[in-house]
Symmetry: C2
Subunit: 422 residues, 2 copies
């Protein structure tokens, strides 16, 4: 993979120009894209700005999920309905990338309208398996070493799940830390813009630069030293179903390694209010999707892919009263989630039910991600754990709303501890 | 003015076809628009659907503020930057209008990007005065009797203020009751879609139909009977500055008339936390606007009108920490606003500092509106009070978040009480 911080170090040292860093990506894309199919558009004219060398993300090529507007590039939403649509303006998150010196080099594949109908994208880390979705191309492009950074979005589990399946780092930040303006809406309460990169420090550095919040950068040094004394809660989310043996083994491995590295492991019981909120994710998502995708449904229902069509058929019957009730429960559940962080600095949890499912027929399940998209708490996918057959198995760290740096620090700690123990 | 409920009664009685109702609007537009200049686009092909007669808003022509997408019609955001932009899809609120049978007949003028630089639109109710902004055309088109319903948006005071200046009814519903998807963003926390119509019952009926919430319709009968026992708090918002004598007289008149009609008037002191939140409106708005309009600012700053340009120059320096602090205060202020509604059913307050200012150089001040856009509480502009010189002077009712029906009932009660007492 291409590490963003590694590229930046080489640029800072004068060993690499921003333009040469982009060329590295173009060469990798030429080599891998025919097999991986992670991109829907490559910008042949993209080039770093004059002052790129000194900018925090100068020379960094970014993949942008194809439901996010980039001025002058087509945005297809993964659907022929939007063939030929070229937005005039950048989404604000793309503006923020450009302000930090980054270059949107490619649009990456998305499942149609970021729901469950799969793309043709391959998983570079688990051949023959889905890369996950809906941010399929962003996860796969980073995993294949084609890009050092990519934008995705999560409404259920569309950032953390593909990161786990492809073995890359990712963050779903606190709700609205990155604006969703200029991003095709599925659910305005749930949609969250996130980032993919090779390592947790890469993700932290990129988020700090985009959000203009330098405190999100991880401190230099061995995370096992800077993170000593970390209190890490382990939450199994039994309400979300049983994880597969590989995921259980990965969570155990991560907790054991973290404990050996000096963390205090605190087993947490599933709060009943969080279980109740988890079950209401669909009520909120579907009520809003029936409105957000109303034009597509009312005027082009037959052109929608089967899973989305079925979802919107079902979504049309959610009553406002059920939605209001669900929102009240979620409001209280946010408080209950916050209370968990009185006892621990961060939570360690399954990132997905198991490694990437075989075949391309399904993007997998978001069951272990939904709760945190509802609460808006930041989640970080921790790379580096492999199942016995070599497929990546992700775990995630979760922190209190607004404390993205805690989730990043915990993820960095766990990743370092796992690497040291392997 | 064209009353929506009156049109619907005539359609229900078979005295008017939906197509003839649209023709009434076209005729009024032909007569008044050359003087008023409330519209930027008229859809020559718009026509009611087959089943319009039986649909709740069948035959109702709607004006759509020109920052809201209507499929196939140009959306200019009040700025030449967006010349030629034709959105593919309807904004979800437009889909909701169509599902209820309404017909988007025209796009209405907006100040550029819904900020303060004025349009050329005239105030039909106060000749020589501003119609207010930013939803200038929507308020003016309803006031001129050209349309029975119009959509606007409010980030500071852009729905309630122009309604007050033009003497029409309007609602800024609870935050996110109507989706802001497909609406050009200024501030994702504050932007709120609202409705203009001739009377409060018209507004209530339209909101009920669009939101699929029949409980928002006002009960039939004299509101002074159905609303007996109403507890109405009077809040002067001293932190927002002093109102002009005409506005003070209007608030006194409304309170007196309501009391005479049987309401209990409760003078409320300004809670200090609400004053603090009010002062932070700009911090939240500006921090988000610097991102939301980042593409426009970075690539076309010189093409932006002067007030917006100056705002964005200033907005660029708001620090994330100041924004985070402001959000925490606002979170607590929402609780403080909620506590006011333990004592009263609704609040009666100034809708604007006075009647519409003379000339077209300024759209007036949003100082008495900002707080409620921040808290997300529903506000209803009450028409029917005139200053001694004949200019409309608005008051507004405000209810607890999510209790839009309370704000509507109180507004209906006050409007009826004022009419009976005049």
């Amino acid at each position: 993979m291409l590490s963003l911080l590694d590229l930046r170090r080489r640029i800072d040292a004068g060993d690499l120009t921003p333009a040469a860093a982009l060329d590295l990506c173009r060469a990798a894309i030429a080599a891998r894209e025919p097999e991986i199919r992670a991109l829907v558009h490559l910008d042949a004219h993209a080039a770093p700005g004059q002052s790129a060398a000194g900018a925090p993300l100068g020379g960094i090529a970014v993949g942008v999920k194809d439901i996010i507007d980039v001025a002058g590039l087509p945005t297809r939403m993964g659907s022929p309905l939007y063939d030929g649509d070229v937005p005039r303006a950048d989404a604000p998150v793309v503006t923020a990338l450009r302000r930090a010196g980054a270059v949107p080099l490619a649009k990456t594949t998305t499942t149609p309208f970021a729901f469950l109908d799969p793309t043709e994208t391959r998983n570079p880390a688990a051949p023959g398996c889905t890369p996950g979705g809906s941010s399929s191309g962003s996860a796969a492009a980073v995993a294949a070493g084609m890009l050092p950074l990519a934008l995705g979005t999560q409404t259920g589990g569309s950032v953390i799940r593909p990161a786990a399946f492809c073995g890359v780092a990712a963050i779903k930040p606190s709700a609205r830390l990155l604006p969703t303006v200029g991003v095709k809406c599925f659910s305005w309460t749930l949609d969250t813009v996130g980032l993919f990169a090779a390592t947790v420090p890469d993700v932290a550095y990129a988020l700090a630069a985009i959000a203009g919040r330098p405190e999100l950068c991880l401190p230099p040094g061995d995370p096992r030293e800077t993170g000593a004394g970390l209190r890490l809660g382990v939450l199994r989310q039994g309400f979300a179903g049983e994880a597969e043996p590989e995921a259980q083994a990965a969570l155990d491995e991560a907790a054991r390694a973290a404990e050996r590295a000096g963390a205090r492991i605190v087993p947490l019981a599933d709060p009943p209010l969080l279980a109740e909120a988890w079950r209401l994710h669909a009520t909120i998502q579907n009520f809003e999707a029936a409105q957000a995708l109303g034009w597509e449904y009312d005027t082009h229902r037959d052109a929608l892919p089967p899973l989305l069509q079925a979802l919107l058929d079902e979504a049309a019957i959610v009553e406002p009263g059920a939605y209001d009730d669900a929102r009240r429960v979620v409001h209280r559940a946010r408080g209950a989630a916050g209370a968990l962080f009185e006892e621990v600095d961060a939570i360690l949890a399954y990132a997905a039910p198991g490694p990437a499912p075989r075949g391309l027929g399904s993007t997998g399940s978001s069951s272990f991600n939904r709760l945190w998209t509802l609460t808006g708490d930041p989640c970080v996918a921790v790379p580096g754990i492999l199942a016995p057959d070599g497929r990546p198995v992700g775990v995630q760290t979760i922190a209190r709303f607004g404390r993205d740096e805690e989730a990043l620090r915990a993820a960095d700690f766990v990743a370092a501890a796992v690497a040291a123990a392997r």
